[in-house]
């Protein structure tokens, strides 16, 4: 097995490491500059039509929903999405007509909540094309390779399966053990969108709870847009610099959006809004319902604040905070 065995999946997101180094050198500033902006401006600037897009968080956890809604509002088109357990985000973006291609580790489903009517309709009708298959750890390690600036990462997963066959991996012989090993190509999304617990105006960011794939993805993406529950003074970052998960030079834009992950979970802060997720799953059963949902929650509101008012405002968010904290509903709410 001297020649690598190639597989059939389309290679997306890979760059020659030298080419990407040059891009990083020319396009990413190392200066600490104020990167605060608005969701509308960040999406306009960093998510052109046709982008290769990845989201921070995982499934229904810590998803940058304010940015997802803004992409739909700006009617972005022909995005390719990395389906790294992409659930609510990709479902809405497909429903909004923004996504035309997806590489799939996990998509078109809502975990325990069932399959995605909207995403499935799109992929089964051919409206959305699947470029290839991969696994969750496979993505994780494609991002790791990119974060490290190497062309590939050796892994022992996916071997022997159709998942591998429909991936962009190659298989070589490990020159030490003589055993076959899969090489996954580095993956550099054009842009990644994150929602974090707190960061300073330069982008130095802290995340509470699991980081899932975010450490590596933040370093793999060419552009990185952060929404944050809170912008904190740089001095807070300096006090415990070992809490910084994302250093500022990776970050292109910072937007303060309290409750910016709604209806997904913000770990330790607020829980899933199951009612709203269920509402989407019901509405998205038909194209008409999908359209109506967007009219109400995206096109019908100027921004995320107005959306929050619509879904129940401060009272609803306080309720989701209490569920997160494993507390009973307030007496006031219980009385309603």
């Amino acid at each position: 097995m001297k020649d690598p065995i190639e597989n059939l999946g389309e290679l997306i997101g890979w760059h020659d490491p030298d080419e990407n180094r040059r891009w990083i050198r020319e396009n990413k500033t190392r200066a600490m500059v104020d990167k605060r902006t608005t969701a509308a401006e960040a999406i306009r600037r960093f998510v052109p039509d046709g982008s290769l897009l990845a989201m921070g968080g995982f499934g229904h956890i810590r998803i940058p929903m304010a940015l997802v809604y803004e992409i739909i509002r700006q009617r972005k088109r022909n995005l390719t999405m990395f389906g790294k357990t992409a659930v609510h985000d990709i479902d809405l973006l497909i429903g909004g007509g923004c996504v035309s291609r997806v590489e799939v580790a996990y998509a078109f489903g809502h975990e325990l909540r069932g399959l995605s009517p909207c995403g499935r309709r799109a992929v089964e009708s051919g409206q959305v094309q699947v470029t290839g298959e991969i696994s969750n750890a496979g993505y994780q390690w494609r991002f790791l390779a990119a974060a490290m600036g190497v062309p590939f990462m050796p892994v022992r997963t996916m071997l022997g399966t159709d998942t591998l066959k429909h991936s962009s991996a190659k298989v070589i012989e490990d020159p030490w053990s003589g055993k076959p090993i899969a090489l996954l190509p580095a993956c550099y999304p054009d842009v990644a969108l994150f929602h974090v617990h707190r960061c300073d105006m330069y982008g130095n960011a802290q995340i509470d709870g699991i980081t899932v794939e975010d450490f590596e993805l933040a370093r793999a993406a060419r552009r990185l847009v952060l929404t944050t529950e809170e912008i904190i003074p740089h001095e807070e970052i300096q006090r415990q610099p070992w809490r910084t998960v994302i250093p500022f030079y990776l970050v292109d834009a910072v937007i303060e959006v309290p409750f910016g992950a709604h209806p997904t979970e913000m770990p330790t802060v607020y829980y899933f809004d199951e009612e709203h997720i269920a509402h989407w799953l019901e509405a998205s059963k038909t194209p008409e319902g999908t359209q109506k949902y967007f009219e109400e929650y995206v096109f019908g509101v100027p921004d995320f604040d107005a959306y929050l008012e619509k879904i129940g405002g401060k009272r609803r968010m306080e309720e989701l905070k209490r569920i997160m904290a494993l507390q009973p509903p307030s007496t006031e709410e219980a009385a309603l």
Partner: protein, 258 residues
Amino acid sequence: MTDKPRYNLTELLACVAAGLLENGRSAFVGTGFPILAAMLAQRTHAPGLLIIFEAGGIGPQVPALPISVGDSRTYYKASAASSMHEVMSASQAGYVDYGFLGGAAMDCYGNVNTTVIGEWEHPKVRLPGSGGANDVGSLTWRTIYVMRKQSPQTFVKKLDFLTTPGYLTGPGAREAAGLPAGSGPYRVITQLGVYGFDEATKRLMLLAVHPGVSVDEVQAASEFEILIPERVAVSPEPTDEQLRILREIDPQGLVIGK
């Protein structure tokens, strides 16, 4: 008017699954049924079972059943809230003993499809894909499958798509493909019984039927031939103690039903 039965199918399967987990070992669990089974094991014979979630939660004291494998309840009072890199690497390095998976269809070697029904290029039904399943099935020592709808449509001769590796084409095939030596599917639990894999052929073999299920029913609910050994056990019924604990873990009946 009939009496309410003492336990339902989910409760039975949870007790069977819990019984497979050893004390002092580790298990990748997902939301729903697997976490229920793992927590039951912890509260009975395996208090030292280490629960790990693929998104990074390690050793939580789960306060309520989590909805997603990244849910903050998967690292509530945990030893570590880490990352996918951390736990998948630990699994690849040999630290994870058991993994729980489900699937839309399985073949006689324990290979599983969760990607498409029909052709990949033109799917009849598009399923979510591997997610972490291929990783769990590739990297943990022993994979336990739970498939509640065993039938000739789910126990199939040929998979439309091989998402997650079982024993691939038989003995030695995993190792020849480069998968970790000595790993693979360990048990399959369905609504009818419990299966293992024959050492010599790596084919699915019946180990036990659930109370009231016949061997003929088991074979009838499969497109491929299931190996039937001389002696087939019967799954033990849940004890009252087990049922009490299950209802403590899931008071709202989210997983076990109401």
